[in-house]
Amino acid sequence: MRILSFLLLVTAAAAAAAPSAADPQAVLRAIEDNRRGIAARATLTMTVERPDRRTEYVMAIWTDGEDRGLVHVRAPARDAGQAFLRDGDNLWIYNPRLRRTLRLPPSGRSESFLGSDISYSDLSGRDAEHDYTPRVTGDDGTTIVLELLPKPGAPTPYGKVVVRAQSRTYVPLEWLLYDQRDQAVKRITFSAHMRVEQRQFPTRTVVEDLLRAGHRTTVVYTEPRFGPVPDACFTQRALEDGC
């Protein structure tokens, strides 16, 4: 009887630790948790590829793992000093030439970040959990596939998102975004995962525009230091002076 109780306890604990595949919302949350990582500071190298050019940006980034993030551009020299702060739905940009902080209109959230294939909204936030209804469409024991359909009135222009992740660990592997005509328009691939506490954080992300050949952005995290980031890092003062 004691053994049975122990087994039940272990099973319950395991169920609490890893979401059941029957609960797609919990699976999506686990995937998002892995994708976002936890509070951290890191150096981020972003390579923007276009058919006729290739630009590399080096940035310092601070995130609380939720919807707050601060980015300071270090290189190239032309863009060095620019900084971006997101706090929930609010976005600010610091322009070192003007020595001014500008608040971006909310529409700016969906604009391209430094001319890349990434939007400001991609830098932090958990929009997928709010905007989509997930459904598990496949699980072969190695890879679990989720189909995310927009909730009515959700502020997303996509028709669906197909998410691939490792089964059981829910380490994100790929997001495929479709337009409303069932045509894939954007692919986001995650790799080089790093184990942080209970999470598998992807340190390399590649965003491909599937409608325009040669448009690709690669983001690589280096020297990540995980742990709490002070609230002072997500203020306008930190935007101008750094954290």
């Binding site: 909310p106 529409s107 959230r109 969906s110 009515p152 009135g153 502020p155 975004l177 409303q180």
Partner: protein, 404 residues
């Protein structure tokens, strides 16, 4: 005198070729003047109508603060004024609107727009966009969007698909995914490339404004400014009513400048028309110098010959004037009902996008055009008579008869 009139009338038809030529020249001059002013005023009226019925509204009620700074935070404090407006003189219908700057985006592109939250049924009474829906239908319920066709093409979104509206609200940034149910094509580029209509409830949810930024009023055409003057005393303090002249703003000055700039052109036009009439009449008389010499030799006094010529020219120009008047008004009345000019210039409409220049252009029809044409022909006829009359009065019959 009677005999002179009878002789002059007979002469008019005896020299049929010369008469027809002068009649044609006069008729053409009259026709041209009527057509010129009909088209000119028609274009100006088209811009005004487009502005009143498609772009904005015939009359708009807003707060004074919103007029100076059209931000949703300067919305109407309450909507109790709507009931008063519906009973006001000239007012046929009233519709609440909530306009706000937003970004509309699809999976491919995004564009800044001025979104307009409307009451679907009431909006149709004050604005023509709902009647220009060429695909799909007008809004019926919250969660829906009607877009200008050009805008839909630009952001690559079709009827039945979702587009996202992002905006700043009084309570922070907001966004909503709305389904496109209709595409409008008004022929006015600034509308077709930018129009975004959504349900008033959605606009309120997105902006956090519980009232409206304006109330649009429908009034009879041409009564816009009078209606605004009649409505203003009914409004509580802090509210302002704008008639069409105020809504047009700088555009009105531009149109007045355009009409003023047309005056020298019209004057040159009239001078050329008068010169054509004068020269044709003078040549007619000079060619008949020998005939006048014979008349004088037979005993008709030069003064009476001159009077005969005057009567002939008056008869001929009167026929031409009447013909030109009939033809001119027939054409402008026809073009006032058939959109032939709009169809002709529609390919150039884009160049005048900022003037709210639609592809519906009808000529104006005013009695004043007949006055302009009559004055021109009268002056031309007077000029035409001065030279030959003087020449005939000093006519030497023997000398005149030798002229070939």
């Amino acid at each position: 005198m009677k005999a002179l009139v009878r002789l002059a009338w007979r002469n008019v038809w005896r020299y049929r070729r010369r008469t027809v030529l002068l009649v044609l020249v006069v008729a053409y001059a009259v026709f041209s003047i009527i057509f010129f002013w009909g088209v000119n005023d028609g274009i100006i009226a088209s811009v005004q109508t487009t502005q009143a019925r498609v772009v904005a509204a015939p009359v708009l009620v807003t707060t004074a603060a919103y007029r100076d700074d059209p931000d949703p935070e300067h919305a109407l404090p309450d909507l109790s004024v709507a009931a008063v407006l519906e009973r006001a003189q000239h007012v046929r219908a009233a519709a609440m609107r909530l306009e706000f700057p937003a970004l509309i985006r699809s999976a491919y592109r995004a564009q800044s727009v001025l979104a307009r939250g409307v009451q679907p049924a009431e909006e149709q009474a004050v604005n023509a966009i709902p009647t220009h829906i060429v695909e799909g239908r007008m809004l019926r319920a919250p969660g829906e969007l009607v877009l200008g066709r050009g805008l839909a093409e630009r952001i690559v979104v079709r009827v039945g698909e979702r587009a996202v509206l992002d905006t700043a609200s009084l309570s922070g940034p907001q966004a909503a995914g709305l389904v496109v149910v209709g595409l409008a094509a008004t022929g006015v580029p600034i509308v077709d490339d930018r129009a975004v209509l959504l349900h008033l409830d959605d606009a309120r949810r997105l902006t956090g404004v519980s009232t409206a930024t304006s109330i649009a009023l429908d009034v009879p055409r041409g009564q816009e400014d009078a209606a605004a003057r009649a409505v203003q005393p009914l409004l509580p303090g802090g509210l302002h009513v704008s008639g069409l002249s105020e809504i047009l703003g700088a555009m009105k000055s531009a149109m007045e400048a355009r009409r003023a700039s047309s005056l020298p052109i019209a004057l040159i036009f009239a001078i050329i028309a008068a010169a054509a009439v004068t020269s044709t009449a003078v040549v007619n008389v000079i060619e008949r110098t020998r005939e006048f010499g014979v008349m004088a030799a037979l005993g008709l006094a030069p003064a009476r010959v001159a009077r005969l010529v005057v009567i002939e020219v008056v008869f001929t120009t009167a026929i031409g004037w009447a013909a030109g008047l009939v033809a001119g008004y027939a054409v402008v009345i026809t073009l006032a009902n058939v959109n032939a000019i709009g169809a002709l210039v529609s390919s150039y409409v884009g160049a005048f996008a900022n003037l709210a220049f639609g592809d519906q252009i009808y000529t104006a029809v005013r009695p004043a055009y007949a006055v302009y044409a009559t004055m021109t022909v009268a002056i031309a006829t007077l000029l035409a008579l001065l030279i030959p009359a003087r020449r005939i009065r000093s006519l030497q019959p023997a000398q005149a008869m030798r002229i070939e």
